[in-house]
Amino acid sequence: MFGYEFYVDPSRCIGCRSCLQACEECATHRGKSMINFDFIERKESISSAAYVCWHCDEPTCAQVCPADAIKKGEDGIVHSSLKPRCIACNNCVLACPFGIPKMMIPEQQMMKCDMCYDRTSIGKRPMCATVCPSQALSYVRPEEIAYRREKPTNIFYFGSQKITTKVYMMAPAEREAIALDVVDYMWEENHDLVATRE
């Protein structure tokens, strides 16, 4: 809608957490930040990554919802769970390969990034993209992002599961898809206190 797309480039993130603060000001989930913010290789590095929901074409969170509470709109936005339906079962939290849904315990409801629906549905940018100083989170037209060195991709492989998304990840130009094996990123394997696999 409106010709804009969301692009996430973790290599640009400077860890300022402006997006977290701005997200809290969004009217659709006021006071609660839906940004997923994480550090990468915290032991060796200060690099961080902020990312939003990827809004999968076939959202796993919605497919596993036993209460039919998670809906994908006609514009491709996967919304937070519907409050009257959500039973706070955590199925979506466990199923999402990106780890996006957040269980709000006081409200007994799953909430997630809905790309500031009150703003993007009328052509405005999401709060996080408006404040990101390094444009690690950007909401621009495809022709604007084409100037960057990295190329956008929206194809992910988690093992044998292929996921295509609405939000794009900036990847090295030669990579058409991003393949992840979650086990490779489990730090426990190399931790001093955890016995290594035989």
């Binding site: 809906k71 994908k72 709109g73």
Partner: protein
């Protein structure tokens, strides 16, 4: 109800609970009103049909059939028989020296004795000894 569905590779529950809002089927107030009116009309026509059928209905007449000889059943004793067809199982009970009662085994009329001229499945159930004799039971 699979014959009502259009050809689909998706299971029914996925169609009933779609992930996409565009695939949801909403029932408008006007659709519900149409459904109620048409259903009421159908029930009205059905009742008229039942009424017409009951006016022209003729109860079948079943013939007489010997069931037991007098004195064959002791007082308090029973005899099983079929009437009017062999699939309609009945029971004849001698409740007193001069009283016989009959029940259908499928419909015992809530367990009550049926009075004079009461008919269940075409069987005259309760008769005095004279009537029994007259019916050649």
């Amino acid at each position: 109800m699979t014959w009502l569905r259009r050809g689909s590779s998706e299971p029914l529950w996925k169609e009933e609970f779609p992930v996409r809002t565009a695939d949801e089927r909403y029932v408008t107030r006007r659709q519900l009103t149409k459904f109620l009116v048409l259903t009421s009309l159908g029930m009205f026509v059905g009742n008229i049909w039942i009424l017409i059928r009951s006016i022209f209905y003729k109860a079948p007449i079943y013939g007489h059939q010997p069931v037991a000889q007098l004195g064959e059943i002791p007082v308090g004793g029973v005899k099983l028989f079929s009437y009017p067809s062999k699939d309609d199982h009945c029971i004849l009970i001698r409740t007193a020296e001069d009283e016989y009662v009959g029940y259908s085994q499928k419909c015992t009329h809530h367990g009550e004795l049926c009075g004079e001229h009461a008919v269940i499945l075409g069987l005259i159930l309760r008769r005095s000894m004279q009537s029994v004799r007259r019916l050649d039971l």
